[in-house]
C-alpha cells in the first residue's frame, strides 16, 4: 500500500515536470505552428540560471592551501559569508529558490530575442526547415554553455531546511516509513501553480482570448485588425519562461549539465503529441499520465513479469493512445496532420 502511494507521488512529481515542459512546447506548437527543437535547450538554460545565480552568490575569497605546491589549491570562503556571517550562509543556502529572480527576466529576454531574431522568420517555412534551424540553435546554445560550465553536472542543492523528507505517513495516519522529500513536494505544488496560472491567463484575460482565437484561426484574428505578431512574440516569451522555470526548479533533483535539454527533448515531444496537437489541457493530462504510468511500470512486481517494461513504457503508451485516439488525448482536427 505504501509502495503504491509512493509511486503515485513519484508519478505525479515526474508528471509535473513533463507537463511543465510540454506546456511551453505546445504553446509554441499550437499557437505559432513552429516545431521547436530548441525547447529542451530552454529547459536547460533555466537550470543554468540557477547554477549561475549560485555561482554569483558564492563568489569567494580564496585562501591558498600552502601544503600543495605543484598547482594552486584554494579553500573557498564566499564573500557573503565573510560579510554577513550566518545571514550570508543562509542566502547562499537558498540560492536555488532565490534564483527565480534571475530566471524569469533572463528567460523572458531569451525567449523574446529568440522569437524576434530567428523564429519569426520561420513561420512561413516548412516544418522540416524549422526542425533544422531550431536543432542547430539547440546545439549552439548547448555548446556555449559547455564552453563556460564544462560537461560535468554541477551540484545545486535545495536549502538545508527542506533537504530532508516530509513525514507524509504520519500526517495521513499511515506508516511512518511513508516519507517524501520536501523539495519534490514543492516541485509538484509549483508545477500545479504554474499550470493553473497559464490556464487562468489564457482563459480570463483579453490577451489570452486573442491568443486562443489565434490558435483556432490565425488569419481571422489578423483580419479583425489585431496585431497577432506582437501577441505571438509574447506567447513565445511565456513559453520560454515556463520551460526555464521547469528547469530551474528541477536543478536540485537533477544536477544540471549542458546536455540535459537533449535528454528531455524527445520525451517532451512525445508528451505533447500524446496529449494532442494544439491542446494545452491534453499536454498537461498526458504529462501526468505518462509520469504515473512510468513510475508504476518500475515496480519490482511488474518488472519481474515484464522485464524491461520500465524502459519502454512511455513509448508503448504513446503507441497505444495514438492508435486508439487518432489525435492523441485531446488534439484538434487538422493541426500538424499533414
Amino acid at each position: 500500500m505504501d509502495a503504491i502511494f509512493l509511486q503515485l507521488l513519484n508519478g505525479l512529481d515526474k508528471g509535473g515536470a513533463y507537463a511543465l515542459i510540454a506546456l511551453g512546447l505546445t504553446l509554441v506548437f499550437g499557437t505559432l505552428g513552429v516545431v521547436n527543437f530548441a525547447h529542451g535547450a530552454l529547459f536547460m538554460l533555466g537550470a543554468f540560471c540557477a547554477v549561475s545565480f549560485q555561482k554569483l552568490l558564492t563568489i569567494s575569497m580564496k585562501v591558498r592551501d600552502e601544503s600543495i605546491t605543484f598547482f594552486e589549491a584554494y579553500k573557498e570562503v564566499p564573500y557573503l559569508e565573510i560579510w554577513f556571517g550566518d545571514f550570508g550562509s543562509m542566502i547562499i543556502d537558498w540560492s536555488v529558490p532565490l534564483s527565480i529572480l534571475l530566471t524569469i527576466p533572463t528567460m523572458l529576454l531569451i525567449g523574446l530575442a529568440m522569437e524576434r531574431g530567428l523564429i519569426k522568420h520561420f513561420y512561413k517555412r516548412t516544418h522540416a526547415e524549422q526542425i533544422l534551424v531550431t536543432f542547430g540553435l539547440a546545439i549552439v546554445v548547448q555548446e556555449v554553455i559547455r564552453h563556460f560550465y564544462g560537461a560535468n553536472p554541477i551540484p545545486t542543492p535545495a536549502p538545508d531546511i527542506i533537504s530532508g523528507s516530509a513525514p507524509i505517513g504520519l500526517w495521513l495516519g499511515l506508516s511512518e516509513n511513508l516519507v517524501y522529500p520536501w523539495w519534490r513536494i514543492i516541485y509538484l505544488t509549483f508545477s500545479i501553480i504554474i499550470i493553473t496560472a497559464v490556464f487562468a491567463f489564457l482563459q480570463l484575460t483579453t490577451f489570452g482570448m486573442v491568443v486562443r482565437a489565434g490558435m483556432q484561426d490565425r488569419e481571422m484574428v489578423a483580419m479583425l485588425g489585431i496585431n497577432v505578431e506582437r501577441k505571438f512574440t509574447i506567447v513565445f516569451g511565456m513559453a520560454a519562461v515556463v520551460a526555464g522555470l521547469a528547469g530551474m526548479m528541477y536543478a536540485p533533483i537533477l544536477p544540471p549539465d549542458y546536455h540535459m535539454g537533449m535528454d528531455f527533448l524527445v520525451l517532451s515531444f512525445v508528451v505533447v503529441v500524446v496529449g494532442g496537437m494544439g491542446s494545452l489541457r491534453g499536454a498537461v493530462a498526458a504529462g501526468f499520465l505518462l509520469g504515473i504510468l512510468q513510475s508504476f511500470a518500475s515496480l519490482n512486481e511488474i518488472k519481474s513479469i515484464l522485464p524491461g517494461i520500465d524502459q519502454i513504457i512511455i513509448y508503448l503508451v504513446a503507441v497505444v493512445i495514438l492508435l486508439t485516439r487518432p489525435r492523441g488525448l485531446m488534439g484538434r482536427k487538422g493541426v500538424m496532420e499533414d
Binding site: 605543484f70 589549491a73 560535468n152 516519507v179 544536477p255 524491461g308
Partner: protein
C-alpha cells in the same frame, strides 16, 4: 589486409626493410624477415612515430576525455624529452631515453569517440588508415573499449585502454592487441571487502541499483560475490535504464524493503543523479534494523565527486589512483601535470599517461615497433614507480595487477580538489584472481 594504400606502402617498406633489419637485428627477423617487417603502419622509414588518442570529446564524459587528452599530450612531451620528464624519472625498470621512441620523435593525432562504439571505431579507423598510427589509446566506457579492442586485433595495431572498468575488457572479451592498466569491477569488490567488514560488520542487508548494461551487471556480480562472502544478505538487485535522469521510482521501494545498505552500480551522470536523489529521499538519515543506513558507490572518480557535491561525504568506494598519493611516481606526475595545467590530474589522466609510457618502453625493450614483439614485452612486464606500487601486466589476460585504493568522500576538504580521502591502500595480493575464471581468448600474435 588487402587495402591498396597498404600495398603502395608495402613496396616502399620493402626497400627500407633490409636497412632497418640490419640496424635493429633482433633474432626474430632471421626467421622470416619480409613477413615480419610487413606490419600495419610500420614507421621504419619515417622520422616520426604517430600515436592516436581516441577520447570522448563530446557527450557526458567530455570532461573526463579532455583530462585524458591533457595527460596524453604530457606523455608525448616527456617522451620527446621536453618538460621535466614526469614519471619517466621514477619508472623502474625503464629504457626510455627522452629522445622519442626508438629514436623517432613522437607525434600524435586525436579523435572523438562520442562514447559510442560506432563513432569510436570510425575514429580509430581514421587514425589507422589515414594518419598511420602505430598504437592508439583512450576511452571512458567499457563498451567502447571492447569495441575498439576488437578492431585493434583485426587491424594489428596495439590498443592501450584508458578508463574501462568492466571485467569483460580483460575477461571474456580480452584481445591479444588490447591492454588495460586500469583496475576492474572484480578488483573493486575484493578491495572493498575488508573495509566493508571493518566498518559495517558482517550482518547487512544490501539493495543494489544497477545500470542495465554489461558494465553494470559485471560490477553487481563482483560486489555481490564480495558482500555475500562477508555474510551479507542481498535484499534485491534492481536494474535501472541508462540515463534515466529521475531515479525516484527505483528509490522509493528501498524505503520499505528492510535493506540497510544501498549499493549504486552506476557511473558518471547516472551515479551523480541516483546518489543525489537517494540522499534527498533521506536514506542516509535512516535507521534500519538498528543500524545506520549506508550507501556505497563501488567505482569513484573525482569528476563524479564534483558533480555529486555534498552528497558524497563519507561514502565509500574504490578508485584506481588519486593525486594525493605521496609515492615518488605520483608526486612526479602530479608535479608535471599540475604545473602544466594548474590543477591536479584525474585517475583517467593517470591511467592514460602511464599506458603511453608503458607502450613506449615496451617498444624500446623490443627494439622494434613490430607489434607481436612489443606485445611480448608488455606481457608479464613487472614495473614500479608509476603510482600504484609494484605492478604486473599479467600475460594471461593483459590486466595490470596493482594496489587498489579504497576512498571515501572527504568530510572536510582542505581545497576544491580535495574531494576524496584515501581510506586504505589495499595491497595487490588481495585483489588478484585466477585469469581463467572469466574465460575468453586472447587470439593470435600475428594478424
Amino acid at each position: 589486409m588487402s587495402d591498396t594504400k597498404n600495398w603502395n606502402r608495402r613496396d616502399v617498406m620493402k626497400a627500407g626493410a633490409a636497412f632497418a633489419a640490419a640496424g635493429a637485428a633482433p633474432m626474430f627477423f632471421t626467421k622470416d624477415a619480409w613477413a615480419a617487417k610487413d606490419f600495419m603502419n610500420n614507421p621504419s622509414n619515417s622520422s616520426t612515430v604517430t600515436l592516436g588518442f581516441n577520447v570522448p570529446q563530446t557527450g557526458a564524459y567530455a570532461d573526463e576525455g579532455a583530462d585524458e587528452l591533457r595527460a596524453f599530450k604530457l606523455a608525448v612531451k616527456h617522451l620527446n624529452g621536453e618538460g621535466d620528464g614526469g614519471m619517466m624519472n621514477t619508472m623502474k625498470p625503464s629504457m626510455l631515453k627522452g629522445n622519442g621512441i626508438l629514436g623517432k620523435k613522437v607525434a600524435y593525432v586525436t579523435g572523438d569517440t562520442q562514447t559510442k562504439s560506432d563513432a569510436a571505431r570510425a575514429s580509430a579507423k581514421r587514425m589507422i588508415e589515414k594518419d598511420g598510427v602505430i598504437m592508439f589509446s583512450g576511452g571512458s566506457s567499457s563498451g567502447v573499449a571492447i569495441a575498439v579492442q576488437g578492431l585493434a586485433q583485426e587491424m594489428g595495431v596495439v590498443f592501450m585502454a584508458g578508463l574501462t572498468h568492466s571485467n569483460d575488457t580483460t575477461g571474456k572479451d580480452k584481445r591479444r592487441y588490447g591492454f588495460r592498466h586500469f583496475f576492474n569491477a572484480k578488483m573493486s569488490g575484493s578491495a572493498l571487502g575488508p573495509v566493508l567488514k571493518e566498518r559495517m560488520g558482517t550482518d547487512r542487508n544490501a539493495y543494489h541499483l544497477t545500470a542495465d548494461y554489461t558494465w553494470g551487471w559485471t560490477q553487481e556480480q563482483s560486489i555481490k560475490e564480495t558482500t555475500e562472502g562477508l555474510g551479507w544478505n542481498t535484499a534485491k538487485a534492481v536494474k535501472t535504464p541508462v540515463g534515466a535522469g529521475d531515479f525516484s521510482q527505483y528509490i522509493t521501494p528501498i524505503l520499505n524493503s528492510g535493506a540497510d545498505t544501498l549499493i549504486l552500480n552506476h557511473y558518471g551522470k547516472d551515479m551523480i543523479n541516483s546518489l543525489t536523489q537517494a540522499v534527498q529521499f533521506g536514506l542516509r538519515d535512516k535507521q534500519v534494523n538498528g543500524k545506520d543506513f549506508q550507501i556505497i558507490v563501488p567505482l569513484y572518480s573525482r569528476l563524479m565527486a564534483q558533480g555529486a557535491g555534498e552528497n558524497l561525504k563519507g561514502i565509500l568506494g574504490t578508485t584506481n589512483w588519486n593525486w594525493a598519493l605521496t609515492d615518488n611516481g605520483s608526486q612526479a606526475f602530479v608535479k608535471s601535470f599540475g604545473s602544466e595545467y594548474g590543477f591536479p590530474p584525474s585517475q583517467a589522466a593517470h591511467t592514460c599517461y602511464v599506458q603511453t609510457l608503458l607502450y613506449a618502453n615496451a617498444c624500446e625493450m623490443a627494439g622494434t615497433f613490430y607489434p607481436p614483439e612489443v606485445i611480448k614485452q608488455l606481457e608479464g612486464f613487472n614495473f614500479d614507480g608509476m603510482g600504484n606500487g609494484k605492478t604486473e601486466y599479467r600475460a594471461a589476460d593483459h590486466q595490470c595487477f596493482k594496489d587498489v585504493l579504497v576512498v571515501e568522500g572527504n568530510q572536510n576538504p582542505s581545497s576544491q580538489f580535495d574531494l576524496l580521502k584515501i581510506v586504505k591502500e589495499v595491497p595487490r595480493s588481495q585483489v588478484e584472481y585466477d585469469a581463467s575464471i572469466f574465460g575468453g581468448d586472447l587470439g593470435p600474435y600475428e594478424v
